[in-house]
């Protein structure tokens, strides 16, 4: 499989994730967030992105990971979708990595939970593993 792609990487805790760089519109710092009561818990709220109202999905909650510490400033990774821009809230932003010649592997069978569905593949980077997420599934509401 020859994937000549660049991935925008970010972290949830120690785990490194990647999204196709072409699907990432921009990275912004934590924004004033408007909560949406009654919405699914993965929806953190709505942010105003230069006049556009964007839904923010907490990627930790989407992956069933424990919530980040209160004092930890989150980062919005704004992703293009067919339905307008959607923000994914992550802990920390990493580099854009070029993985043209990297070996790509299917996620291990033992991966469980929502990650099994969301993770498209794994890259073995020196010293760490990079989990590639499917952007459309990442911004979707579980169960829908």
């Amino acid at each position: 499989m020859t994937l000549s792609q660049q991935y925008c990487t970010f972290y949830l805790g120690d785990q490194c994730f990647g999204l196709d760089v072409l699907r990432v519109q921009e990275i912004i710092r934590q924004q004033a967030m408007t909560c949406v009561p009654l919405a699914h818990r993965v929806v953190r709220g709505l942010i105003n992105l230069r006049g556009q109202i964007v839904t923010a999905i907490d990627l930790r909650r989407r992956l069933d990971l424990p919530d980040r510490a209160e004092d930890c400033e989150a980062i919005n990774v704004v992703v293009h979708t067919d339905n307008g821009a959607v923000s994914l809230i992550v802990d920390e932003i990493g580099d854009v990595v070029d993985v043209t010649v990297q070996p790509f592997e299917r996620p291990p069978e033992t991966l469980s939970g929502p990650a099994r569905e969301l993770v498209e593949g794994v890259y073995k980077l020196p010293g760490k593993l990079l989990l590639i997420l499917n952007p459309d599934l990442a911004v979707s509401i579980p169960g829908n």
């Binding site: 408007t34 709505l46 105003n48």
Partner: protein, 774 residues
């Protein structure tokens, strides 16, 4: 002509487009004479111009177009073959028409150009086909000596014309032939041979127009372009954002003392407002665009029903947003149909009633308070209120008890409920029962309202109020649990503030459900925090803010932490991730850049159980006459009698709960009555009446004076809708409202009691309202 200015303008716009189309099509035909499709299109285009020209009274234009069309029809039928001379002649037609259009636009008439020779040439071509008479192709009479005998020279290579574009060459030339020459801008390079042809060709310069004018481009065509509506939508959104940004700057500017800055802000503010208005205007269309088809509809309907109807329209120029124009088309059609079909009586009936045979139907649109009001008024039979009442009962929309309590206006509003139709016969046109409720739903969907007035025998007026635009709506901002929410103003009825010292007493509870007495009506209260699952603030020591909202037919009070101000908000839809939330209608960006959710009042009411989906639109969900409902149970009002004992009455029979002081009671003809809302309300003491019923006529009737004396200082009265009008039941105390499926026994019955059952660990008599008041 000034009267039809709008029509003429539209004709000009369309004709210019059509003429350009003809130009290119004719050139194609010239090259490929056998293209049937193109020929048919040319024919249609010319035909439509001719039709409209005839319609607005442009005889010359019509004559020229007609001659061209006749020629084309022979071509179309295959009797003639398209050739160059025909093409030239037809292009001359195009140019002649273009010239006339220019004149119409300029002076309002076709000009005094003479086109008889052109028409004669067209006729000649129609007869002969023009193929053989090559020399006379383009220049009907007296081909000039300098003119080449072969038509081919007419389409000389473009270079010869000094840079005139090639496909247009023959056309340009042709146009020059029929255009009045004096006014033509000189074409220096084209002054050679073709020029001579030109000079020779016009029969005589038809008009000598003093001013030089440009025949080709005309003002209407130049000042109108077709724009994609989505682009306008985008502009609208951007302007909305600009308005918000402006508001933000204004807020900041207040903290700066700099006058130069203040001036700049002021100017920005004015410009933004103007820009917003202009952009809004781009989406505005006169309501006449929808109304235009009504005269025909009315005529056809009137003929179909054998009625005479005079249709009047006023205020067609009233403008509103394009999307709204589309949205009101069907509801208005329905109302108009109703008016002709059911409203206006047949001529003989009208004569009997002393009205002119010809009925009058009037549509009137105007602006009022930032909304567009459309009134549809007929002078027909009006709505038979009693029939409405009967039909409502018959269709189980309301119970007879309730029907008795409704006022004239309330009864009229019943026809807006689903499944209602008072027409006595189903006609071809309407009366199938899907009527005004659809109108109402559609109008309410776009944030409008429907009202109706009717005087029996004199006619009906239906009034719809429609917002000017949907993109920007006025909204009330409230806050709850630290977040701000927008409530669209259309759902807002009033604001109520209960001072903290009264809050605990003013809010009563029926089986845990809080209610507030608002001018005698019980207003169910819904706590926004609770509904949204937010932290419930301790409100006991604070003033209570109640926003009274209208959700379909019901009103309810929304309790919020704080009521802020009203703002114009730009409505934005929620993304897919939040589509399932019925409680929010969208979101908006506030002046400070924060996002606020817009509450969906109907959804919220449904969530809180104030209304329940489909059933909600009928006033009462179940029909009751005392019998046990089949499955789902019913709500009962539980009270004690004046002489003790627990009793119950179906809540659906209860209209109101009142406290009536003894001094306001009067005794008339041995009965106690009270003046109640302008009517006389008979009072019945439930306990004593039951005693009397069970003891039969043997008892000596207590004197009326005694009976009044038996009552407490302030009587608790349950106002019920009886079969013969409302009646007040005097009870000891209102205890509760329970919702239950009651399986009672009739073993212990006494007259006036339907059955007995245990409610809240007490034996309770379920009283029969009918026999109590008989």
């Amino acid at each position: 002509m000034s009267m039809n200015n709008e029509i003429v303008r539209e004709f000009l716009l369309e004709a210019h487009e059509n003429l350009s189309l003809l130009d290119s099509d004719l050139v194609i035909l010239e090259e490929r004479p056998t293209e049937k499709g193109t020929l048919a299109q040319v024919f249609r285009t010319l035909h439509s111009i001719k039709g409209t020209a005839g319609f607005i009274g442009l005889p010359k234009l019509q004559a020229v177009a007609h001659a061209g069309e006749s020629l084309l029809s022979r071509l179309r039928d295959g009797e003639l073959r398209f050739n160059r001379s025909i093409a030239t002649a037809l292009l001359q037609v195009v140019d002649a028409m273009r010239f006339m259009l220019a004149s119409i636009e300029k002076s309002g008439n076709e000009g005094d150009g003479d086109y008889t020779s052109l028409i004669a040439e067209l006729d000649r071509l129609r007869m002969t086909g023009g193929g053989e008479a090559a020399g006379s192709a383009a220049v009907p009479e007296s081909p000039p000596p300098a003119a080449p005998a072969v038509p081919a020279t007419l389409v000389l290579p473009p270079r010869a014309f000094g840079g005139v574009d090639f496909p247009r060459a023959s056309e340009r030339e042709a146009s020059e032939m029929t255009m009045p020459l004096p006014a033509m801008p000189p074409l220096p390079a084209a002054s050679a041979m073709p020029r001579e042809t030109i000079q020779a060709s016009p029969p005589a310069p038809p008009t000598v127009d003093e001013e030089p004018f440009e025949p080709r481009p005309t003002a209407v065509a130049d000042t109108n372009i077709r724009v994609d509506v989505t682009l306008l939508d985008k502009l609208m959104t951007l302007v909305g954002e600009l308005v918000l940004a402006r508001n933000q700057i204004i807020r900041y500017s207040a903290s700066y003392g700099d006058t130069g800055f203040q001036d700049a802000v002021q100017r920005l503010s004015l410009l933004t407002t103007e820009l917003q208005e202009s952009v809004m205007k781009t989406r505005m269309q006169p309501i006449g665009n929808v109304w235009n088809k009504f005269p025909r509809i009315v005529r056809d309907l009137a003929v179909g029903c054998q009625k005479k109807v005079r249709f009047e329209m006023e205020g067609q120029e009233t403008e509103l947003d394009k999307t709204l124009i589309e949205a009101i088309r069907d509801p208005l059609t329905h109302i108009v149909r109703n008016a002709v079909d059911h409203g206006i009586e047949p001529p003989d009936v009208r004569r009997e009633r002393g009205k002119p045979e010809e009925g009058r139907l009037r549509m009137h649109a105007f602006h009022e308070g930032g909304k567009v009001i459309i009134e549809i008024q007929d002078d027909g039979g009006g709505i038979h209120v009693e029939r409405v009442r009967e039909r409502a009962i018959q269709n189980k929309i309301i119970s007879p008890q309730e029907a008795a309590l409704l006022s004239h206006a309330e009864l009229l509003r019943l026809i807006l409920l689903p499944g209602f139709s008072t027409a006595e016969k189903v006609t071809q046109f309407s009366g199938r029962g899907v009527g005004m409720d659809v109108v109402r739903t559609n109008i309410e969907k776009i944030g409008g309202t429907v009202d109706l007035e009717s005087v029996e025998g004199q006619g009906t007026t239906i009034r719809t109020k429609i917002p000017l635009t949907l993109a920007i709506v006025p909204a009330l901002m409230v806050s709850s649990a630290g977040q701000r929410y927008a409530i669209p103003q259309v759902s807002l009825v009033e604001l109520v503030r209960v001072e903290s010292e009264h809050a605990s007493t003013a809010i009563e509870s029926i089986q845990g459900a809080p209610v507030y007495r608002l001018r005698g009506n019980l207003l169910p209260l819904v706590d926004l925090n609770e509904q949204l699952g937010l932290a419930i603030a301790q409100r006991s020591d604070r003033d209570l803010n109640i926003v009274v909202l209208q959700a379909e037919d019901r009103q309810f009070g929304l309790v919020v932490d704080e009521i802020r101000d009203t703002e114009e908000i730009v409505v934005k839809p929620l993304q897919k991730q939040l589509k399932g939330l019925n409680t929010f209608a969208g979101a908006t960006i506030l002046g400070d850049g924060r996002v606020a959710l817009i509450l969906h009042v109907v959804g919220l009411a449904e969530r809180a159980g104030v209304i329940s989906g489909v059933k909600a639109r009928s006033l009462v969900q179940h029909q009751t006459s005392g019998e046990q409902p089949a499955d789902q149970g019913e709500s009962y009002l539980i009270f004690s009698g004046t002489l003790g004992g627990q009793m119950a009455l179906p809540l659906s029979q209860v209209a109101r709960l009142e406290e009536i002081p003894r001094e306001s009671m009067e005794t008339v003809g041995g009965r106690q009555v009270v003046q109640y809302r302008g009517e006389i309300l008979p009072l019945v003491d439930v306990s004593r009446q039951l005693d009397r019923l069970s003891l039969g006529s043997q008892t000596v009737e207590a004197s009326a004076r005694d009976r009044v004396a038996e009552l407490p200082e302030v009587a608790q009265v349950v106002v019920c809708g009886g079969g013969n009008g409302p009646v007040g039941l005097v009870v000891g105390q209102i205890l509760d409202v329970v919702h239950a499926r009651v399986a009672g026994s009739t073993e212990w019955n006494r007259p006036g009691v339907l059955f007995t059952a245990v409610v809240q660990e007490k034996v309770t008599e379920f009283v029969d309202l009918q026999s109590l008041v008989r």
